[in-house]
């Protein structure tokens, strides 16, 4: 039980970090494009 508590899921965390960074880059790019195209009112 103690071994399970100390288990560090490094692979899962690494995949998660890559996934989150990818989302941030994609979302940020689209958001900057939106801002660059200007207002609509």
């Amino acid at each position: 039980m103690k071994n399970q508590e100390e288990f560090q899921p490094k692979g899962t965390v690494a995949i998660l970090v890559v996934f989150v960074i990818t989302l941030i880059v994609l979302w940020g790019t689209i958001y900057l494009t939106l801002l660059q195209r200007g207002g609509t009112v």
Partner: protein
């Protein structure tokens, strides 16, 4: 009387904090875009009768096209129908601020101008309105991106922004 505390794993705790931060970031980003920079989604401007909107002499869509309302400011009345926009071409000088009033006389369409934030659902009986300032000269194609029948692929036009 005993008290119990909720056990939250450190990874779960970090993920909850990250999710809350994300919500704050997204809400702030949307608020800045909407209120500080004026990027709005179209709202129904007015109601019209799709059966008469193109023929009623009091309707601006009986003679669709561009009207200059002030120097550098225009109103564009666009009529969408299967399978064309009227007019198909608009010419304005660079720096023009154009407000689009678009409606449909038959089925549902969309009006999307490339390289701008104009992308409106065009519903029969409803007028959709958005404004854009054309800051760069060039050709801005506009298309219907809602499948509206066999001739859908030919439903397009262009805005020519002259230097």
């Amino acid at each position: 009387m005993s008290t119990t505390s909720l056990h939250v794993h450190p990874y779960e705790k970090r993920w909850i904090i990250f999710s809350i931060v994300l919500l704050i970031v997204f809400t702030t980003a949307v608020a800045i875009a909407a209120f500080a920079l004026g990027i709005q989604v179209p709202s129904p401007e007015q109601r019209v009768d799709p059966r008469t909107v193109a023929v009623d002499p009091n309707s601006p869509w009986s003679n669709p096209g561009l009207r200059e309302i002030a120097p550098g400011r225009y109103e564009a009345y666009i009529l969408a129908q299967t399978w064309q926009f009227q007019p198909r071409e608009i010419r304005v000088p660079v720096g023009s601020r154009v407000t689009f009033y678009v409606t449909s006389k038959d089925v549902q369409h969309t009006f999307k101008i490339q390289d701008t934030n104009i992308n409106m659902q065009i519903v029969p009986g409803q007028v959709s309105k958005l404004t854009v300032t054309f800051k760069k000269p060039g050709t801005y194609p506009f298309i219907c991106s809602e499948y509206c029948g066999i001739g859908h692929a030919g439903m397009f036009g262009q805005i020519i922004v002259t230097p």
